[in-house]
Amino acid sequence: MTITRRIVLAGSAGALAMPNVVRAQGETFRVGALNPVTGAGSPYGSGMQRMIGAAVEAINAAGGANGRRIELFSEDSQTSPQAAVLAAKKLIEVNRVRAILGTWSSGVSLAVMPLTNDADILLMHTSGAPALSTPPVNAKSLGFRFQATNDRFGRAFAEIAAREGFRRPATMAFNNASGIGNTDGFRRAWAAKGNQNGEHVVYEPNQPSYRAELLRVLNTRPDVIVMGSFLPDTTIILREWFQTGTPMKWIIPGWAANPQLVQALGPAVTQGIIAVESVSNEGAPAFAAFDAAHRRAMGNQPGTANAYAAMTWDMANTLALAIEQAKSFETAAINAAIRQVANPPGEAVATFAEGKAAIAAGRKVNYEGASSVLDFDQFGDVTPDFGAYFIEQGQFNRRYVVKI
């Protein structure tokens, strides 16, 4: 095609007309989705991002929050604090978002929260580091955690280790806030039960081999190793452990011991591993709505496949309900309304549309989420339960649920 003067003119006119078209759709409430589409969180990131999109679609279909459509801007955190900071800056400075949803991994959330604090906007995240609850990181109380803290994960590990009758647990932690948070939580809880803690190794990520670190732990002859780890390092460590032929068990957080791990290592290596993951609010009506949306967006995969996607689905709904409740788009007002719409007492609601109708009728609502009952404490933390999944012949069998 040759580019004629007419085409150039028509194109320019079209470009000039654009802002008017956008303006004609009315003012929107801008929200950023910052998720781990690539990197260690990649098994979850796409689902997390799509479920924010699906929830926003449902919210807009119900007439938007406080009369405004939610407009979504999506970025990839790459599960890397550096990349996430650049993406958050872009979302805040260029897209002018009023909230950021769905950061995964503590390193990322710890790096992003100072930016959201400076911009005076909300950060809803799925990270576990205890530091994210309190000042200085959460000095403005604008951070909301939809996942259990690493400390609580560690306590769940200790419950499971005691229940399974282990006596000599050692710990290995990826050197970041999440990994160390997990193992520290375990060691504290284990000692509180009157037990002796074993060898503890903190390892540097991104190594081609962890043989030296592993042998250091195995030399102390533990009967179980409790991990604070991620998928890439766990894969290599388990492979090297299997080669040593040392009989012992593993307790590993569910974001590292997941179906991708079984796929990479095979059922023989992963046999008997105990994976601990927060369980979604599976019996709840909100979970049914999320599950249907997840199956539509993710090629008929059930919602139970991605606990983090349930969390991001809840983030969008909670935020929109809080805006509806606050009758305001100001951060302070929305922030104050979040506990009003999520915590008891109030009429239990499972979707934004339901909640909007109840609020319009002047009733107090209590959003019971898809990821948990979603009651925020004074730190902005929730308290999901934990499932103990035993990997058997490559299958994840949930044997019991641990409540902390």
Binding site: T38, S42, V202, P208, A212, L215, N219, P232, F242, Q243
Partner: protein, 288 residues
């Protein structure tokens, strides 16, 4: 604990020998083209994926998948050289190094795009370690060790006996004299890049064999490769081998002595010590 020390030495020598393969590629490119090619990590990743495809899709055994890794990484290396590095030749070695770094990022993300982020394992049975009294060594470690030695022997024979290999050494020794004697610089540069990148590719595949293949498998090696080459003397072929084995052993032994979180420091300390005490490196003749 002497047992633990000996075990660390065994593991370190094996890891160092495998590290020597990409370190040789890095140092060869430096010797002939006079710039550090930081795309070496991504090129190692290219080789790892190529070998993985050869193994899992076409059922090639390891010894046959290695040449596939070599060829794929060599082609990628030539593409990096011609498209990114060569246009900046006039701007000096630093610009070429930066161009290679950028090209490496592009390569890494192309792989991410094509293969995704998942960890890929070779289609190999996971074997238990062989035990010798208190010591252990994995059959896969031994196979990789032997394959790495074979790669190095082939490189040595190529440099020693082939006409092109001799031309490469001549250019590395004295570029002007070599050109006067009628060595074709363009051809020598191309062969060097291909061989250097190919070695990186084979190294990447060997590491991937022992662990798993993902878009960062080569990038994780860059610091160790660079430290090995600097320690041995940038541009020195025997230096790269000695440097790699020294770094491999030091990284393993360091974990016994210090908190493992400081393992990464080994590479940096080696580079710092060499640059301060003996800038030419162990086997180098020039100060880089």
């Amino acid at each position: 604990m002497p047992e633990a020390l000996i075990q660390a030495l065994i593991n370190g020598v094996i890891a160092g020998t495998i590290l020597a393969v990409p370190a040789l590629g890095f140092t060869a490119i430096f010797a002939v083209l006079n710039y550090p090619n930081f795309a070496i990590g991504a090129l190692a990743t290219v080789g790892a994926y190529a070998g993985w495809v050869g193994n899992t899709a076409f059922g090639l055994p390891m010894a046959a998948a290695l040449p596939v890794a070599f060829v794929a990484a060599a082609l990628a290396g030539l593409a990096v050289q011609w498209m990114a590095v060569k246009p900046l030749e006039a701007a000096g070695a630093l610009m070429m190094a930066i161009a290679s770094l950028a090209a490496g990022l592009v390569l890494e993300n192309m792989l991410r795009f094509g293969f995704g982020n998942e960890l890929r394992g070779f289609d190999l049975p996971l074997l238990r370690d062989w035990r010798f009294g208190a010591f252990r060594v994995g059959p896969q470690q031994v196979e990789n060790f032997v394959l790495a030695l074979a790669c190095m022997a082939l490189l040595w024979a190529f440099l020693r006996f082939s006409r092109t290999g001799r031309a490469m050494r001549a250019v590395a020794d004295n570029r002007d004299l070599a050109l006067l004697r009628g060595v074709d610089p363009v051809r020598v540069a191309a062969v060097t890049v291909a061989v250097g990148a190919g070695l990186a590719g084979m190294g990447g595949m060997l590491v991937g064999l022992d662990t798993s293949v993902d878009p960062l498998v080569g990038t994780r090696l860059v610091l160790s490769i660079f430290a090995a080459a600097v320690l041995g003397g940038l541009g020195s072929i025997p230096g790269a081998v000695a440097g790699a084995i020294a770094i491999g052993v030091a990284e393993e032994v360091a974990v016994l002595a210090f908190n493992p979180a400081y393992r990464l420091v080994v590479g940096f300390v080696a580079i710092l010590a060499v640059l301060t005490l003996r800038p030419a490196g162990l086997f180098g003749t020039r100060a880089g």
